[in-house]
């Protein structure tokens, strides 16, 4: 079931269309990657989900019902542009933000105690925010995003500003949240983390959605039937063995073995390649080259731009 869905969202600013008929569906309990180049309209879409701005047209559904103003208490949002009141004390500020999300003061205090000790920042409770390092502030920010145990979490570029250790800590926490049943929308440029974390993605470019679906099936869709073979004792040229429909992309040496990347014709299977090579070489390995999300991202975005 989808926890959140947006259908045919359009948002027009004076001279510029920020979103053009964009639809997404976020299955409950999944991590949903919202991808796209800078200025594509991701932040606009996220602001619409958070009801910070209203769409010109389109429909938003949350947990089976039309999105309501009070649903903001079920949503946690970590914006890309984020910060805290610098002159305010850490604990006081966290309490304030938690209460704004609808928690009672007592409940907020209890949960903050738990999180602060978990992150080892209990000693900072009475310090002013401006005395904290950037990484520390980001931790506080993360805590106040999740403190009200929202059903839907939205992270906009969550890893920017974190050192690698804290990035890992954050990834763990995000996976923990997913394990405890939260649904997460995750907007980023960092394709490696998309592969690591996301179940589904939607790719937005120039205000339009140009690709969406399950990460695994997208990768299959974009696989090019390319294989990498390692073999030895080779005395003949590959071009002589393989028919012209087999495209040799790359050849080289890997220590003692020869390596080649070959794109097969559409109807061919890896077995066909093997049967062609076997009479001439000892084959050590055969791997399918699956495109990375990074490749897909660049491929789709540049192709789209070329066609426009």
């Amino acid at each position: 079931m989808d926890l959140f869905s947006a259908a045919h969202i359009t948002k027009q600013y004076a001279a510029h269309r920020a979103l053009d008929d964009v639809s997404i569906a976020v299955p409950e309990g999944s991590i949903f990657g919202l991808l796209g180049p800078n200025g594509a309209g991701k932040t606009t879409l996220i602001r619409i989900i958070n009801q910070i701005i209203a769409p010109d047209s389109g429909e938003l559904m949350f947990a089976g019902k039309r999105l309501q103003p009070q649903d903001v208490e079920q949503i946690g949002y970590l914006p890309e542009e984020r910060g805290l009141y610098k002159k305010m004390k850490v604990g006081e500020q966290a309490l304030y933000l938690a209460q704004l999300k609808g928690l009672s003061r007592r409940e907020a205090e209890k949960r903050l105690n738990h999180w602060f000790s978990k992150f080892g920042i209990m000693g900072w409770w009475n310090r002013k925010v401006e005395e904290l390092s950037k990484g520390m502030q980001q931790k506080v920010q993360f805590i106040v995003t999740v403190i009200h145990q929202p059903r839907l979490l939205i992270f906009d570029e969550p890893f920017s500003g974190f050192d690698p250790i804290n990035v890992n800590l954050l990834k763990e926490e995000i996976l923990n949240l997913k394990a405890t049943g939260s649904t997460i929308i995750f907007s980023t440029h960092n394709m490696a983390s998309v592969e690591e974390l996301c179940d589904h993605i939607a790719l937005i470019n120039n205000a339009r959605k140009i690709l969406d679906g399950n990460v695994k099936s997208i990768k299959e869709r974009f696989s090019t039937n390319t294989f990498e073979v390692r073999f030895n004792t080779f005395d003949r040229d590959l071009h002589a063995i393989l028919p012209e429909t087999y495209e040799i992309l790359q050849t080289g040496m890997d220590d003692t073995l020869r390596v080649a990347r070959i794109r097969l014709p559409e109807e061919s299977k890896p077995n066909d390649l093997l049967s062609l090579l076997m009479p001439h070489a000892t084959i050590h390995s055969l791997n399918e080259i699956i495109p990375s999300m990074n490749d897909i991202f660049i491929h789709v975005v540049t192709k789209k731009e070329a066609s426009e």
């Binding site: 103003p69 208490e73 914006p79 910060g83 805290l84 009141y85 704004l100």
Partner: protein, 455 residues
Amino acid sequence: MKKILLIIRREYLTRVKKRSFIVMTILGPLLMAAIVIVPIYLATTTNETKQVAVIDETGLFFEKFKNSDNIQFHYLNTDIHSAKEAFGKSKDYALLYIPAADVALPTNAILYAGTQVNINVKSYIRNVMSKRIEDLKLEAQLADLTKGNSSPIQLDDLLRSIKTSVDISTIKIGVDGQEEKSYTEVSMVLAIFGAILIYFFIFMFGSQVMRGVIEEKTSRIVEVIVSSVKPFQLMMGKIIGVAMVGLTQFALWVVLTFIIITGVTTAFIGNTLPQGNATQLIGQSTGGFDPGKVINMPSDQQPAGETNEVFAALNSIDFPVMIGSFLFFFLFGYLMYAALFAAIGGAVDSEADTQQFILPLTAPLILAIIVAQFIVQDPGGPMAFWLSIIPFTSPVVMMIRIPFGVPILEVILSMTLLLLGFLATTWMASKIYRTGILMYGKKVSYKELWKWLRH
């Protein structure tokens, strides 16, 4: 609603805990107390003797004005015209003219002087005159009673019936003999003081709102907050929170000022003060808020030491009306401007960018302060009327007019328009604010603001 209260609470508490708030709270009353105490102190130490010539056409006040170290009276037997002509050449400080009254007892007098008349001189004259007239009235009443002409009356009624208000108008005689009516000093001081206070409060707390908005924008916390509450709630929460800071400051100033004045006067000049006079300043302030009431100068003071006369003058001020109208015009004037200050804060990226917007916004306020001196000269004139009706200038200009008395209808009109002005600017400001707070790194022009407003 619960969330807006949370916002108000935060805005209020973070500000009243600031050191600058505490410093202002202490410095303000010291300054105000000094304004009151210094003239009293000077009055008690001055050695200069002022000569006042008296022309008493009624003959009722002969020998009633007692000479003191500071004031000496001498009676003239000439008529007023020749006395005025002679006045310029004499060394007299002032010329008191009590014209013959058509009715039994006079209730007005004219004081001619070369400069602004000293408040002590005027108060003393008024006190002596009203005391004398009250004595005469009392004698007449008692004579009636003893003759059995009238039925016995209650003491309260008796006292009320003899209470007399003497109106002394002051006229300045220039070197060239030109006459110019000058206005009651207390009203004037009060008018300017009230106007400056409103101007200062609107400016100070309005820009606090603006800085608060800029702080939220530059620290980038605003997006976190507007994902929990509506931008309008955030804006109003801030405006109301800061308003409460302003009211707290004002209340503390009033209370502390009176405490300081009472303390200092009882410590230094306490002997000359009749008991309980200083507390009377506050105690007298009963009765409802009635801004339309014409404030006049009651003269029900017992004649006492000269220092007491400043208190007599202060005592004559209708504090409930002054404070009541101050609160209304401060609150709504502030609310109207604060919304626009918030909009500016939302539209810009840093305080450095605010100049181009602040100047046009505050121009009406500055104009009101500049024309204040003309309005004091003619508080009922067309300029005073119009500027006290237009919402952008009315908070300041109305504060100038109120000590002189303003027809109740004009006050209601002014208040209604100010309220409407507040609603209009808040509506406009919220549109600019909600767009602006989410825009970073963009230099905003008036054209851009207009677009946001229509969006």
